[in-house]
């Protein structure tokens, strides 16, 4: 499978605070990787480095073979990043956000599948309302729609299921799964929702103290799924305790 994301020896932080201390990670096109980790373990920092919103102090990131340093624009062209809901502009409407983001990505048109997903999310009636009037779940839907604009080869989502109603969450899981299964993109999802990891992810990685402390392969996840009881939850707790 073609490589969607490659992170090597990534170090990053804020001023003197070191958050990431040598992260190695890869996501292939047609693969869904779930990024797990306790609060303040560095998941969002890692995603911000991948989205070029934070400059790492050392290491390298490449998206679809394009280095984020040398070919930033080519790398960003292949990236779909779902920003945190609080980063969305309160004083623009949902439709304006979609239009502006599509134009900023250099797209000639907004894809039909994104508009269809908006319809499935029951988001269409919200298009003319200000983002400031949206609930958390509605903002999450908009954030996901923006991330999926322009057929990105790498979709990066941070806690995308947080606040989504069950029906919309199911729509999103199936949509992402269908994109991944068709080999249209690779997905990197930072999440605490273990049911999503067990049922939909191909691999999972645990970020602990700024490093990838443990990885679960497709086979290991399948085995955990088949295990009666807590499965991944217990394995995760054991990995955290062991580290």
């Amino acid at each position: 499978m073609a490589e969607a994301l490659l992170v090597r020896s990534l170090h990053a932080g804020y001023d003197k605070l070191v958050v990431l201390g040598g992260v190695d990670l890869e996501v292939a096109r047609g693969e869904w990787l779930a990024l797990l980790g306790p609060n303040a373990s560095g998941k969002t920092t890692l995603l911000h480095c991948i989205a070029a919103m934070l400059v790492p102090s050392a290491g390298s990131i490449s998206i679809c073979g394009h280095s984020l340093r040398q070919e930033a624009m080519a790398a960003k062209r292949a990236l779909g990043f779902g920003c945190a809901p609080e980063y969305l502009p309160d004083l623009l409407t949902g439709r304006q956000c979609l239009e502006i983001y599509a134009a900023a990505k250099g797209l000639e048109a907004i894809g039909g599948d994104v508009l269809a997903l908006a319809e499935e999310f029951a988001f269409t009636p919200m298009l003319e309302r200000f983002v400031g009037s949206y609930s958390l779940g509605t903002k999450q839907k908009l954030s996901v729609l923006l991330a999926l604009l322009g057929e990105p080869a790498l979709v990066v989502l941070d806690e995308a299921f947080n606040g989504l109603d069950p029906a919309s969450a199911l729509v999103l899981k199936r949509h992402l799964r269908s994109r991944v299964s068709a080999g249209r993109c690779g997905v990197l999802l930072a999440t605490h929702a273990l049911d999503v990891v067990e049922r939909y992810s191909d691999r999972a990685a645990l970020l602990l103290d700024g490093r990838i402390a443990r990885e679960w392969s497709r086979e290991e996840l399948a085995a955990l799924r088949a295990t009666p009881g807590e499965g991944l939850e217990m394995a995760l707790a054991a990995a955290c305790a062991g580290s």
């Binding site: 340093r69 930033a72 980063y87 623009l92 979609l98 990505k105």
Partner: protein, 332 residues
């Protein structure tokens, strides 16, 4: 601290801000002091302050309008802060009245201090200074009372209630454009200037002037009131452009948009609105004194427009640098 947790929390926040950004805070204070000194020593400052000192009624009117609006705004802001604060659930009252009075007193002290500085450097005489101080103080007191009595909007009413939803472009999905981005600072400017609140205040002031409340010529006073409104609108738009730039850059940072294209898309509507407001301003000053408007007003307006645009673009480029928008070489 236990009796006044809101005040205590505010003091700790200020102390922390100073402790962790000491250099930046001191630099900002030094820059503000230098800027005030430079403005006080500028050649036009003396004549303007002198005129304001001689026409006490106009000065009183301007001070009343500004302090009424600012008190109403502070009260609204304090109400929202009290209702949404992390200390809101505590069984203590927020010192809202004290907060509003302290801010008004601070601004009044600043304005009187500036006039005193102008007097100290010889830009104005002692008589003009004392007249100015009295008129401003009277305006502040009346404005404080009037602003406190103004009906306030619902506590916690979000800003977007005052923004206007624009009709979507027909080709929004088939040919997306960056142009709607300009609605963001424009909407923020509308929230800052709050025309629904400012219009009745100015209307009352303008109706009062020709009724013979004081000895200023009606034409001059009307022009001054209109001038205040136009200036308020222009400053609101400048503040909005600065306020929005970082948030917009952070939101669009993962996209491929370039920084110059971003800045142009963000500010074009603000510039157009400022040009319109300044045109109104020039027209109003032209009614009073056409010769001086042509000689001083138009170059001053053009200078302000350039300065405002330069500031907005500088802030936007700085936001791009900080968020990584349009950067071609981030990383290591």
């Amino acid at each position: 601290m236990a009796a006044h947790p809101h005040l205590g929390a505010r003091l700790i926040a200020w102390r922390n801000a100073y402790r962790y950004r000491r250099g930046r805070a001191l630099l900002a204070v030094a820059l503000v002091v230098v800027a005030i000194g430079v403005v006080a020593a500028l050649p036009p400052t003396g004549p303007i302050l002198g005129w304001l000192g001689r026409t006490r009624a106009v000065t009183f009117l301007i001070a009343t309008i500004l302090f009424t609006l600012s008190t109403a705004r502070r009260r609204q802001r304090a109400s929202i802060a009290a209702a949404t604060s992390w200390l809101a659930a505590l069984p203590t009252r927020s010192p809202m009245r004290l907060q509003v009075m302290a801010s008004t007193a601070g601004w009044l002290a600043g304005l009187v201090g500036f006039s005193a500085l102008a007097w100290a450097v010889g830009a104005i005489g002692r008589t003009d200074f004392s007249r100015l101080a009295v008129a401003m103080t009277a305006g502040a007191v009346v404005g404080l009372l009037a602003g406190w009595r103004l009906p306030k909007a619902g506590i916690g009413a979000p800003g977007f209630h005052r923004a206007v939803v624009r009709r979507p472009r027909a080709a929004w999905a088939s040919a997306p454009s960056l142009s709607p981005l300009a609605n963001w600072p424009a909407a923020q400017g509308r929230i800052f200037s709050r025309p629904k609140r400012t219009a009745p205040v100015l209307l009352l002031a303008m109706m009062a002037i020709p009724s013979g409340l004081h000895d200023a010529p009606g034409q001059v006073a009307l022009a001054v009131a209109g001038l205040c409104m136009a200036l308020y609108s222009v400053f609101s738009l400048s503040a909005a452009a600065v306020r929005v730039a970082f948030d917009a850059a952070r939101w669009l940072a993962p996209t491929t948009v370039g920084k110059w294209r971003f800045a142009a898309a963000l500010f074009w509507r603000v510039v157009v609105r400022q040009v319109l407001a300044l045109a109104v301003l020039i027209f109003l000053t032209g009614v009073v004194d056409l010769h001086r408007t042509l000689a001083v007003g138009i170059p001053l307006a053009a200078l302000y427009l350039c300065a405002s645009l330069t500031l907005a673009v500088a802030v936007a480029l700085n936001a791009c640098r900080r968020t990584g928008l349009g950067a071609a070489g981030r990383g290591v």
